[in-house]
């Protein structure tokens, strides 16, 4: 747990998964939950200092009530990175974390060295409406995965033997916090700010994502001045899980460049 105090705003107690050494890499997790020490993070930590905070409002992380909109989130991450004494970081943002990562890159261009957006939310295409991530649970679950859901989805949830309701409360808190930025449509004006992103950007997209069609990734590439697309076949909303090797390789290569 790390604590960030922003004067006159409030206190954020944030769960932080940290591993490795080398160039700092900020990882912002997706809308469902923090992945915990998932395989892809450990592998990225082989040659990076990976800093993966849990978003305020998720799990045990507090301070969600200090956010009025997505700009507050971007400024929170700016403060958080600066509180670690870092002058610049590589940022990898997945899903809703991709929206936050892109906002951060637009609002703090000198802080973000390179940017990776993975199946990122933040845009809306009238011609290709994306599925409602808060729709029927079985439909959403099926849409997320290319080859069906794994036995255990990556998570930082720790079961409590004394609290049978803990899993329900964990999920409700996480997704409830996501609604602030994704309900009813996961678009908060990012389109107008993507042209201001200076960082070289890799847009990674699992092409079987039933939540976000690949056209959304193409739109990110079109709007960000220096961006390229890496499609990952046979992967859905979690390409880092379904195609871990290719994901780690693509991200590592891009960040080394």
């Amino acid at each position: 747990m790390t604590t960030l105090e922003i004067p006159n705003i409030g206190t954020f107690d944030v769960e932080l998964w940290e591993e490795g050494s080398g160039a700092p890499l900020l990882y912002l997790h997706g809308y469902e939950r923090h992945p915990g020490g998932a395989g892809f993070l450990k592998r990225l930590a082989a040659d990076h200092r990976v800093l993966a905070p849990e978003q305020p409002g998720y799990g045990n992380s507090t301070g969600f009530e200090h956010f009025t909109d997505v700009h507050d989130v971007a400024l929170f991450y700016r403060e958080l990175v600066e509180s670690w004494g870092l002058e610049s970081v590589d940022v990898v943002g997945h899903s809703l974390g991709g929206m936050f990562a892109a906002e951060l890159a637009a609002i703090a261009p000198r802080l973000v060295r390179r940017l990776v957006l993975v199946n990122a939310y933040g845009l809306w295409l009238d011609d290709e409406p994306s599925l409602d991530p808060f729709g029927p649970a079985d439909q959403v679950k099926a849409a997320k995965w290319h080859a069906g859901p794994p036995d255990v989805e990556p998570t930082n949830f720790v079961p409590d033997p004394d609290d049978p309701h803990a899993p329900i409360l964990f999920s409700a808190r996480n997704l409830g916090s996501a609604t602030k930025f994704m309900w009813p449509i996961a678009e908060r004006g990012l389109r107008r700010r993507l042209p201001l992103v200076d960082a070289p950007t890799l847009v990674v997209h699992g092409t079987s994502d039933g939540l976000l069609p690949v056209s959304y990734a193409e739109e990110f590439v079109r709007l960000i001045p220096d961006a390229r697309l890496h499609r990952i076949e046979a992967a859905g909303h979690y390409p880092m899980v379904e195609q871990e090797d290719e994901f780690v390789s693509a991200v590592s290569t891009f960040l080394a460049g």
């Binding site: 808060f134 309701h165 808190r173 997704l175 409830g176 609604t179 602030k180 309900w183």
Partner: protein, 413 residues
């Protein structure tokens, strides 16, 4: 005690298979199921029935707000209320209520309620609601996690606007107005405010802090509501709140007839239509962020007084008519039987404001009119003694006086 006439303004001509074929009767059912001409006729039916109830001694005519659903085609209760305000004499008009978080700016609600209060001569009860998830989160797109904060900000604006003597500026998080000065103001100095809820402890605390009337408005009756209503009173007692039973409103389906057999014959199909034509998709009923962590935990641990099997059968229209009655979904039978069952209900659950649902599903107008007549003339007068010594600040003075003047001194405190 007080009686509030109510009907869930159902679409009355749904095909028999509707309940089995639509994913949900909310948010996404094809609107083509409802012929607007039929809807118009249904509105007229409900208005006639409420006008009749005004002449039979009901204390208020109650309207609710729902969106994108076949079971309550009342996206704006205020529109029907304005007709009643101009065409009725005695009963209050209970808006139960306006979904505050859905209006931008919410000062619109302050204006419309003040208009209605002026038009009705001070007979408005201002129920204010969060709205069901289907209404507020899905149909109107409010992020569930923001709903309560938006509601309370709007509530503060509206209640202040009704009383402010000078224009004021309101710099809220969601609403910013430089000049708040609505015309007209309400006739009533203190418009009675009700906040119906579904058992959230946070709502109980707000209602108690402001000494408002709480409402538990389900159609599942006494048995399934008991843990929540009694939970409210236990919480209120424990936290030093006002235990006046007139602070509790409760919905009850009433099916009154000359004989018990007649009740079954006349109401059974409509009751089953009412319950089985209302499938609610689980994902629409439980969006994340709508319910606080504390209230989720409360819901998960609250005692269940009705089995899951019974609940499912009730929702599918598979209970017998008298099983619905036994579980409290409906109170049916002769006026004597109905009186006795209502008396048990309201004394046991400490209910001072009974919302009598006199029409269900596709019930014929003449049967409903008979229901009104029997209940109004043979049940209400006999139940006026209940809680008669308790003060009632949660219904308008004007309607209390007029109902008492016309229907006898026991009609009010």
């Amino acid at each position: 005690m007080k009686f509030h006439w109510f009907a869930q303004q159902y679409y009355s001509k749904l095909p028999p298979e509707y309940g089995d074929t639509v994913d949900s009767s909310w948010v996404t059912p094809p609107a083509s199921y409802a012929d607007p001409r039929q809807v118009g006729e249904d509105y007229h039916t409900y208005i006639r029935l409420m006008q009749q109830a005004d002449g039979l001694g009901w204390d208020s005519l109650l309207l609710n707000e729902h969106h994108q659903t076949s079971l309550a085609m009342t996206p704006s209760p205020n529109l029907i209320a304005s007709i009643l305000a101009a065409t009725t004499e005695n009963a209050a008009i209970a808006l139960c209520g306006n979904s505050l978080a859905l209006y931008n700016p919410p000062i619109r609600v302050a204006e419309e309620i003040a208009m209605l209060d002026a038009l009705s001569g001070g007979r408005i009860i201002a129920g204010i609601v969060f709205g069901t998830p289907m209404d507020s989160a899905f149909s109107y797109g409010v992020p569930p996690v923001e709903l309560r904060e938006r509601f309370h900000e709007a509530r503060e604006l509206i209640t202040r606007a009704w009383k402010a003597e000078e224009p004021f500026a309101f710099n809220g998080k969601y609403t910013k107005l430089r000049y708040v000065n609505p015309w007209p103001r309400p006739i009533q100095d203190e418009i009675p405010v009700w906040i119906p809820g579904s058992g959230s402890v946070e709502t109980w605390d707000v209602v108690n802090a402001l000494d408002y009337c709480y409402g538990y408005l389900s159609f599942s009756g006494k048995q399934s509501a008991e843990p929540i209503v009694k939970g409210f009173w236990e919480h209120t007692r424990a936290t030093g709140g006002n235990m006046n039973p007139n602070r509790m409103a409760f919905t009850q389906v009433i099916c009154c007839a000359d004989t018990d057999e007649e009740a079954e014959r006349q109401y059974s199909d409509a009751v089953k239509y009412f319950y089985r034509q209302n499938p609610t998709a689980i994902w629409q009923a439980t969006p994340p962020g709508y319910t606080s962590q504390a209230s989720i935990r409360e819901n998960l641990t609250r005692a269940k007084t009705i089995s899951a099997e019974e609940r499912l059968k009730a929702q599918r229209g598979e209970l017998s008519f008298w099983e619905y009655d036994e579980l409290g979904y409906i109170i049916a039978g002769t006026p004597e039987r109905v009186e006795q069952r209502v008396r048990e209900l309201v004394t046991d659950l400490r209910i001072g404001q009974l919302i009598t649902c006199m029409h269900v599903g596709d019930l014929a107008e003449d049967v409903t009119a008979k229901n009104n007549h029997l209940f109004g003339t043979q049940v209400i007068p006999k139940l006026r003694d209940v809680w008669a010594d308790e003060e009632d600040r949660w219904t308008p003075k004007v309607s209390q006086e007029r109902v008492a003047a016309r229907f006898g001194p026991h009609a009010t405190v």
